[in-house]
């Protein structure tokens, strides 16, 4: 008993209290800051090295749905026109919003519909589907329930059965072998339900997008409510995105 209390004392206060103003390590790569006015004529160094073809030129833009935040473009750019900032607020509600350009200031999702906020604003249970996820995204989603991030305090939790869930969080590029299971799981969730894509693989196929072993048809058939970019996304990106989307303080 005494020992357990000692362990509890050791724990201290590890929780991230302020989800919106946490400080991350200096090298953490979040929202890219772009300066296309610095691009020299005819230069396409960044585009050449990008492993997922996430970069477009004239004007310079990065598709965070494809980006794996590997920093090659930042390191390759002769003019320092690309810089990955510490900003971890990256979640958004449309695919187009993920394309970052010079003009992009703050990224935040549009508010969820009134119905969704009314139904799920106070309590949201999610079922996670790992469809080819490499366990990077899965570990970060698991980290949401640890003592540091403790997403449960906002009423958002992962549950075992789709019957108990209000929506799904998909990780991974959706291999053929997971196609059927993904449909079955989604169909087992009562409506209204939400669909969240977590990580570059889920959003676009990421580094696997050209693999013949994928079947991403599911995403053509069902709308996506929230995109969480990253490889893997930081847990705070997920929580901050959910809070913004559901208008929770």
């Amino acid at each position: 008993m005494i020992e357990s209390i000692q362990l509890r004392v050791l724990q201290g206060d590890p929780i991230v209290h302020d989800i919106h103003h946490a400080s991350l390590p200096p090298l953490f790569r979040g929202k890219p800051e772009l300066h296309s006015d610095q691009c020299p004529d005819g230069c396409n160094e960044c585009q050449k090295v990008c492993p997922t073809n996430a970069i477009q030129l004239h004007p310079l833009s990065i598709d965070m749905g494809l980006c794996v935040f590997c920093p090659l473009c930042e390191q390759q750019c002769p003019e320092k026109a690309i810089h990955f900032t510490n900003e971890y607020h990256l979640a958004c509600s449309s695919r187009e919003q993920l394309v970052v350009s010079d003009a992009t200031k703050n990224i935040s999702p549009e508010l969820a519909s009134e119905k969704i906020r009314k139904y799920f604003g106070k309590s949201l249970k999610l079922r996670q589907i790992s469809a080819g996820g490499c366990n990077g995204c899965e570990l970060e989603l698991n980290a949401l329930s640890n003592v540091n991030f403790d997403m449960g305090r906002f009423g958002i939790e992962f549950v075992a059965s789709p019957r108990h869930a209000d929506g799904i969080v998909i990780t991974g590029p959706l291999p053929k072998a997971m196609a059927e299971a993904t449909y079955l799981c989604y169909d087992a969730i009562p409506s209204p339900k939400i669909n969240i894509l977590f990580g570059a693989c889920a959003i676009s196929g990421g580094i696997f997008k050209d693999s013949p072993e994928l079947n991403r048809e599911f995403l053509n058939n069902y709308p996506v409510d929230l995109f969480i970019p990253g490889c893997p996304p930081h847990p705070l990106t997920f929580i901050a995105g959910m809070l913004d989307w559901l208008d929770k303080k």
Partner: protein, 493 residues
């Protein structure tokens, strides 16, 4: 045995691999395994319209040597005598070869699909093993599991609570990584290796980088080697803490789960100090590193690790002393040393069963050549041993990192890669936190990749989990599963 003998990370010309007749090939592989070599690869190297050249790779930990030998199969002569009846460790490799190249092991005791559920391996479609009888029942779990975890299908044959047989059916994660690695840019290959299994990013990128560097005869500085090993040990500490947290959670020891979880956050945030990613992504590249460690980062990292060292020893002593915890861990999911050896288990799971196997000390590479780590083994092979060994490895890894920081060599962190040797190969073995990772890499006449074969430690150990469940209560499955902590994506590729 007749074979080409090489060292870990030693490049060789493909033409030096002896290509034998089938009979000689079988004899040579058998002879190798009788002299305590382990199979780490059996795969098709080249395929023409009519012929497939198959290479067997054996490793002998007692002599730190690797042995390669090959033979040629044709569409008509596509059968050989299975080794698996005597040497169970080859069972899964033979299944994989059958699935990928339709080369059939004659007399194989249990020919089953590895990654493709619907493939027909020999004459008829595979159906899962099934026990019949009064009050016998079958429990099917997955592919989607209860937790936030990768997909796989488990089927238990039970009588009451007792499991008689567990069959593990994987392949849901198959993304075709080995194929993708062949026709992509160097940058893409590195990202692909980071994603073989995202929890062993450092381990797999290390194996990839060492393979590429060996085949292009590029040397890296001591500083690079040391920082790489520090990253590798950080990954080991982090994942061992995650595993211990999972085990604490599965036995209902909440304070343990919470404490290990908090410490893991500290460790992975320390990895982010080095490279910006909590999983070591973007750190190791062929030729060196993408980031150098700054003085501030090193100071902060050491501070974090001192805290982890202090707290983890307190938590370990409390948890491994609590009778309520020990009652659940002791004698649960036992894999005897004899079984572990015969099925070729690797990593902490094998060491927990008393098998002396650790790539870092038997096939040393990078900084481990100068600063050896002790090879720790336990003997009981149960969940307790698998948990305890991870706690002991955490202590050693922390000690290792502090030792490295004491005299961190200076030097450049990146050397340009030389052109790759043509028609050559290299076997790159690395000790990931789960155990032995092997990347077997071969180039063609242009120096491009001809074959990239990956073996994650999970490839061996899933069968160990199935054996651990024999005569166990089905309710102990989550605990046994967590104690092995295996990768689905690393297996499925």
């Amino acid at each position: 045995m007749i074979s080409l003998t090489v060292q870990n990370h030693q490049p060789f010309a493909i033409k030096n691999i002896p290509i034998l007749t089938l009979q000689e090939f079988e004899g040579s592989v058998r002879e190798g395994m009788l002299t305590h070599a382990r199979m780490i690869g059996l795969f098709g190297l080249e395929k023409t319209q009519t012929e497939t050249t198959v290479i067997a790779v054996l490793s002998n930990p007692s002599t730190s040597s690797l042995h390669l030998v090959g033979t040629v199969f044709t569409a008509i002569n596509n059968r050989y005598n299975s080794f698996a009846g005597v040497h169970q460790q080859t069972h899964y490799f033979e299944c994989e070869l059958a699935e990928n190249h339709h080369i059939i092991p004659e007399g194989h005791p249990w020919l089953r699909p590895v990654r493709k559920q619907t493939v027909v391996l020999d004459k008829q479609p595979y159906s899962m093993y099934r026990m019949e009888g009064e009050e016998v029942h079958e429990v099917a779990v997955g592919p989607i599991h209860a937790g936030v975890i990768e997909p796989g299908h488990f089927r238990f044959q039970c009588h009451g609570e007792l499991v008689y047989h567990l069959e593990i059916n994987l392949g849901y994660q198959h993304r075709g990584i080995e194929q993708l690695l062949l026709n992509t840019s160097a940058a893409q290959q590195n990202i692909l290796c980071e994603s073989i299994t995202g929890d062993t990013t450092v381990g797999h990128t290390m194996a990839h980088a060492l393979a590429v560097e060996a085949i292009s005869r590029t040397t890296v500085s001591l500083r690079t080697q040391t920082l790489r090993s520090i990253a590798e040990e950080l990954e080991r500490i982090a994942m061992h803490l995650a595993g211990l947290g999972g085990i604490a959670n599965d036995v209902g020891y909440a304070i343990g789960a919470a404490s290990y979880g908090r410490l893991r956050t500290l460790v992975i945030n320390s990895s982010a100090l080095l490279c910006g990613s909590r999983f070591g992504r973007g750190f190791i590249v062929p030729g060196g590193l993408r980031f150098d460690a700054t003085t501030e980062a090193i100071e902060l990292l050491q501070k974090n690790l001192s805290l982890v060292q202090k707290d983890v020893s307190t938590i370990n002593s409390v948890m491994f002393d609590a009778s309520s915890v020990l009652a659940r861990l002791d004698h649960t999911g036992t894999v005897s040393g004899e079984w572990a050896k015969s099925i070729g288990m690797v990593g902490p799971a094998a060491r927990a069963s008393g098998i002396e196997l650790d790539t870092r000390s038997q096939f040393p590479y990078g900084a481990y050549r100068y600063s050896p780590l002790p090879l720790i083994t336990l003997s009981t092979g149960d969940v307790f041993a698998r948990a305890r060994i991870r706690s002991l490895e955490i202590d050693e890894s922390i000690r290792f990192i502090f030792e490295q920081f004491e005299n961190l060599p200076s030097g450049s962190i990146f050397n340009e890669l030389q052109p790759r040797a043509k028609e050559s190969g290299v076997i790159s073995m690395v000790e990931g936190w789960r155990g032995e990772i092997a990347h077997c890499v071969f180039t063609d006449s242009q120096g491009s990749w001809k074959r990239y074969k990956i073996k994650d430690p999970s490839f061996h150990n899933w069968y160990g989990l199935a054996l651990a469940l024999r005569s166990e209560a089905i309710s102990d499955f989550p605990l046994c599963n967590k104690s092995f902590d295996l990768s689905y994506s690393g297996h499925d590729l």
